[in-house]
């Protein structure tokens, strides 16, 4: 190795390499410790595919959609590169969150790694910002309307909402300038911040060493005994180079998985953005489902709780966690409160994400097979459709989820009750959120009620 000798003579590179690759890491470091390097690997895939996408992508309202279509349909490997960027983005979110959970449940954010945790949470924020700015870029319907909804949500922030929304949009409406701004954020500003924060995060990990898994004598570590215990643990541990085999295997497996997803499912491209549509149903990417579903729980004047207070306070809580929880216990078994809160939040987010993923078909377009219905029932079904009931109610899996599912309403309510309730819900059930139908002709009301009673 002539070159190695040449460099070593001038820069002492061998010493650096030994200190990095041959350093001992704590005992019991295993597969769970590959989550961070997996996230890093996926971020590198994002940077690489992102740079290549930018060779063809044009950030202008007239050309963005066409350029993405061109990448997907015309450029050799274009569909793969774009698909990889899309699927690896989803995997980044999953692995960043899993990495955070590993650190949380093993108490690795405690002394002396509080600063690593803070930088890590900021990185998570940057990753979500990448997601939010990234899906405007194809300028399709999903892109446009998700951004309209996203900036409306920003607008609800007390006091500063209008300013924040305007700074995001570049003006009063989502338009040409929004696309330029989001492109600059996504492809220039955020990557710069990302690289700086990742460098800082890695510097801290290498400087302090990998956090010891909270087993045995490491389940509880007070500040003054930390150094001694950590050295003890390292004395029984392996080298980082050996651990890198695990990191490498996970990275390769993830690349294969992301490639398979990219080839199998690609990246969707809907119709070109149309600000004048009245039939489009905006849906966010899956990793924002939990926020979108949270909106159901906080109607009317409470909307700001879901759009601002919960996300903001949640993020602040996460950021400040190491300063709020300073006990010496690191094993999750000795931290029942942290375990309960952490598991509760995870369960809540998973539940809301599941709700979002299984949300019914877009409301207002319900079209049940009417051919099998008798003429009277068909008339009732037509009234049901014309009155827009499906906007809030579901029948046989089609319709909205705001009101009760009516698929089996006939086995719960009788004809007379349904007629009275539909006509004037307040009179039957005070406080019912359903709008009245006092102006609906008696004949139509009867027909619809008969149709509903037939649903058993």
């Amino acid at each position: 190795m002539k070159l190695g000798d040449w460099l070593d003579e001038r820069l002492s590179t061998r010493q650096l390499a030994r200190a990095f690759f041959d350093r001992r890491i704590p005992k019991a470091v295993g597969w769970l410790h590959t989550l961070g390097s997996a996230t890093l690997f996926l971020l590198l895939v994002q940077i690489l595919t992102g740079i290549f996408l930018s060779f063809y992508y044009v950030p202008s309202a007239e050309q963005a959609y066409g350029s993405v279509e061109y990448i997907t349909k015309e450029v050799p490997f274009g569909s793969y590169v774009r698909g990889l960027h899309r699927w690896s983005a989803s995997l980044v979110i999953i692995f960043a969150v899993l990495h955070l959970l590993r650190v949380f449940f093993t108490g690795a954010y405690k002394y002396p790694r509080e600063a690593s945790w803070v930088v890590g949470v900021l990185l998570l924020g940057v990753i979500f910002a990448f997601g939010f700015t990234g899906y405007l870029l194809p300028w399709d319907q999903k892109a446009y309307w998700a951004t309209v909804v996203g900036t409306h949500i920003a607008e609800t922030a007390p006091g500063i909402g209008d300013l924040v929304a305007r700074l995001l949009k570049g003006g009063p409406d989502v338009g040409v300038k929004t696309l330029g701004r989001f492109y600059a954020f996504h492809a220039l500003f955020l990557p710069t911040i990302l690289i700086l924060l990742v460098a800082l995060h890695l510097f801290m990990v290498i400087r302090q060493g990998i956090a010891p898994p909270p087993v045995g004598r490491l389940a509880v570590i007070r500040k003054d005994e930390y150094r001694e215990r950590y050295e003890e643990s390292k004395a029984e541990g392996h080298t980082f180079l050996e651990h890198m085999v695990r990191d490498g295997m996970v990275a390769l497996a993830l690349l294969v998985l992301a490639s398979w997803l990219a080839l199998r499912y690609g990246a969707p491209l809907e119709e070109i953005a149309d600000p004048t549509t009245t039939t489009y149903v905006p849906r966010p990417e899956w990793y924002f489902y939990f926020l979108f579903e949270l909106l159901w729980l906080f109607p009317g004047q409470w909307t700001v709780v879901a759009t601002f207070w919960i996300p903001t306070l949640g993020f602040l809580f996460l950021l400040l966690l190491p300063f709020l929880d300073r006990g010496p216990e690191r094993s999750p078994r000795l931290r029942p409160v942290a375990l309960a809160i952490g598991s509760g939040v995870v369960a809540g987010v998973l539940f809301l994400t599941y709700q979002g993923a299984t949300a019914p078909a877009p409301p207002g377009r319900a079209s049940v097979e009417t051919a099998r219905l008798s003429p009277e029932l068909r008339k009732g079904r037509e009234v049901y459709e014309a009155q827009g009931c499906a906007a809030c109610h579901m029948i046989a899996g089609e319709g909205g989820a705001a009101g009760p599912d009516l698929s089996k309403i006939g086995s719960v309510r009788d004809l007379d009750w349904l007629k009275r309730f539909i006509k004037d819900p307040q009179a039957v059930k005070p406080g019912s959120p359903m709008p009245d139908s006092k102006e609906l002709p008696e004949e139509s009301l009867s027909a619809m009620a008969q149709y509903l009673v037939s649903l058993k």
Binding site: L11, S12, A61, W145, V148, V149, T151, H152, I153, D162, L163, R166, L167, K169, G170, G171, P172, D173, V174, G175, V176, K177, D274, P275, T276, T277, T278, T279, Y280, V281, P282, F292, L295, W296, F298, P299, G300, Q301, T303, T307, P362, P363, G364, A386, Q387, G388, A391, C392, G400, A401, A402, G403, P433, M434, P435, E439
Partner: protein
């Protein structure tokens, strides 16, 4: 390549303080010279108050009395690129007395595109079950306020839409949308 202590020379405290202040001042000057113009460059075009450009909605006679219909706003002048407004849809309600109401097409909850159902005489938002009546009042669902509306005027038989404003539950005007 050695990091021996011989390479570290502590300065006398007063000199150290002077140098710290000097470096701070230099950094501050660099940050200000670069930062102020760049911050203005980024933020000012976004927050600049502009008179809302009135837009043409259509001929008055194309809107039937007592009906609500969708219209696409046509900007009066085609501005230079950066100020170009996106195409916007509005719902025009022509009342029996001949007056108009022009509704903004975004739901007041989180901005999903509403649609008008003439059979039910109601506006529906597809995202979280918001329902509005023909005057834009909230009938059901989570929207916190009635539909936002445009100012309007009729000149020589043509209907124009102006700035967007907000109304409260009694449909009284409470403020500009883009204040």
């Amino acid at each position: 390549m050695s990091n021996g202590t011989s390479e570290v020379m502590p300065l006398p405290p007063s000199r150290r303080r002077f140098i710290t202040v000097a470096l701070g001042a230099i950094s501050g000057a660099i940050a200000a010279i670069l930062g102020v113009p760049l911050a203005g460059f980024f933020a000012l075009p976004a927050v600049r108050r502009r008179d809302f450009d009135w837009a043409e909605v259509g001929l008055v006679e194309q809107f039937k009395s007592g009906e609500i219909s969708l219209a696409i706003l046509k900007p009066l002048k085609r501005p230079v690129w950066p100020e170009e407004a996106p195409k916007m849809a509005v719902f025009v309600s022509r009342k029996a007395d001949g007056s108009f109401e022009i509704f903004h097409s975004h739901c007041t909850h989180v901005g999903c595109p509403i649609n008008w159902n003439p059979g039910a005489q109601r506006f529906f938002s597809p995202c979280h079950g918001g329902v509005f009546d023909q005057d834009g009042r909230v009938l059901a669902g989570p929207p916190p306020r009635p539909l936002d509306r445009h100012e309007w005027k009729v000149e020589r038989g043509v209907l124009y839409a102006g700035p967007i404003y907000l109304v409260n539950d009694r449909l009284e005007r409470v403020g500009h949308y883009h204040a």
